[in-house]
Symmetry: C2
Subunit: 281 residues, 2 copies
């Protein structure tokens, strides 16, 4: 397994790999890998001849006061795990390598990036779309894998790929969870013991919503109110949003029908956690 | 020579062409070709095995009240000229093909797109950067050729290519002029007889600036005032701007030194014409 830090070197290797007729799979990450990331690598392994895992804590997707500096990093452990799970290259550029002096180009999606998390993190998806566009040109993948936990990110990236004609397949892989249902996230590290215990309510509230829908409930507001009640009972939980939206435009629904995304963002101490389910109603 | 209207078909042909090891050159145009465009095709012919000329009057680079609807079109003549000058493919997508329903992704460059023409046409370069990014993914060129007449556009695109790691060479070809020095432009068609006569002052004012610099003048304001005086003498001329800036960041200069871009934008009736020279001071 190779570790590459330079854009030019990565670009050259990607070109050579394409010329050989090999199929390249990309898994973009911010590092500090957990079982969720590793499941993406193993999934990619089934389809690709050549797996690139990028590790880049992308400054442009963090807002002022967010956890860019504090975001956990452990490159040595990450590289070991990537090797063990079938990665061929770890691409770890520096911030200056991705955004050199004079850098001024950004990719913006209107509408869907202002909703859900975008309402709380107004420049977040601009940062995501920009770095993903760059990674696609640098790594030249045939497909890229993202996790369903970041549901809005997956929707934004699918739209980006379609709009800019990237011709890259986007695979969205299921959320991997701890035994009590908490979605795996590098940010779970921030949780105190009490917060960790409380945080399992997110998945329970989503399962509650699913049960209500299965029992025939179609009112978004009744489902949201029930979830809000469950989550608010936890002393350390502070809700950013609970939403039931269509899974394309992320428009709030009154009555659930079609493919429905139920998504939550809740702060527990300094950890802002997100989770979601998609229901076919 | 082939005419292609569908993005998918163009993308497939580009992929096949790349797989054969052929070098692809792209000349993006808005059609209604003149000798300036044709010189770009002939220049590309020297470097490329496969020449794609795109014709697309791009709605997102026109502002409200600008000449999107009126912009001249003559596809049949364009195709004949492209064939005669060595083009292999004319890519002529419809507006719906490039911006299908639900389209929401835009590429923005901060700073340099707000200066010169960007100050008068605030969404123009966003439209240019977006469509060029799309064309690069659709046509997959090894290099693309742009005209020096659109000096700011060339600078924006070079920056875009560098920032997003496109790995595509940008060639900027010299401005082709009428016998009296007027830069060729599809918009010259809009000029009345009087306006056409007056419009030759643009090149004369730039040549005047060049002579002043050659004679030792370094004061930007003295050069600009002289140019302003020359242009204002023409009864149909309405100046948008006359500027002396550095050729990277487009920052206004007080004293000329280094690579200096002297650029003008002047309206004659409904034609807004631009021209420029670069001087090594």
């Amino acid at each position: 397994m190779r570790i590459i830090k330079q854009v030019q070197q990565m670009q050259k290797l990607a070109k050579q790999t394409r010329t050989k007729g090999l199929k390249i799979g990309l898994i973009p990450t911010m590092g500090f890998l957990h079982e969720g990331h590793l499941s993406l690598i193993r999934l990619a392994r089934k389809e690709a001849d050549f797996i690139v895992v990028s590790i880049f804590v992308n400054p442009t997707q963090f807002g002022p006061g967010e956890d860019y500096q504090a975001y956990p990093r452990d490159l040595q452990r990450d590289c070991r795990l990537i090797g063990q799970n079938g990665g061929d290259v770890v691409f770890v550029p520096s911030s200056e390598e991705i955004y050199p002096e004079g850098y001024c180009t950004f990719v913006e999606l209107e509408g869907i990036t202002r909703k859900l998390c975008g309402a709380f993190r107004p420049t977040h998806f601009r940062g995501v779309a920009t770095v993903v566009t760059k990674l696609f040109y640098i790594v030249k993948p045939h497909f890229a894998v993202f996790g369903q936990k970041d549901a809005q990110q997956a929707i934004v990236i699918k739209r980006l790929v379609k709009d800019l004609n990237f011709g890259i397949k986007i695979i969205v892989a299921p959320t991997v969870r701890e035994s009590d249902g908490l979605a795996m996230s590098s940010r779970n590290l921030y949780l105190s013991e009490q917060e960790r215990e409380d945080a399992s309510v997110l998945y329970k509230s989503l399962q509650g919503a699913k049960s209500m829908v299965e029992a025939g409930e179609r009112s978004a507001s009744r489902i949201i109110v029930t979830m809000e009640k469950m989550i608010s009972e936890k002393p350390t939980a502070q809700i950013d949003y609970i939403a039931a939206v269509d899974d394309q435009q992320l428009e709030p629904l009154e009555q659930l029908s079609g493919e429905v995304l139920i998504a939550v963002a809740v702060r527990f101490g300094r950890a802002r956690l997100i989770d979601n389910i998609i229901l076919s109603v």
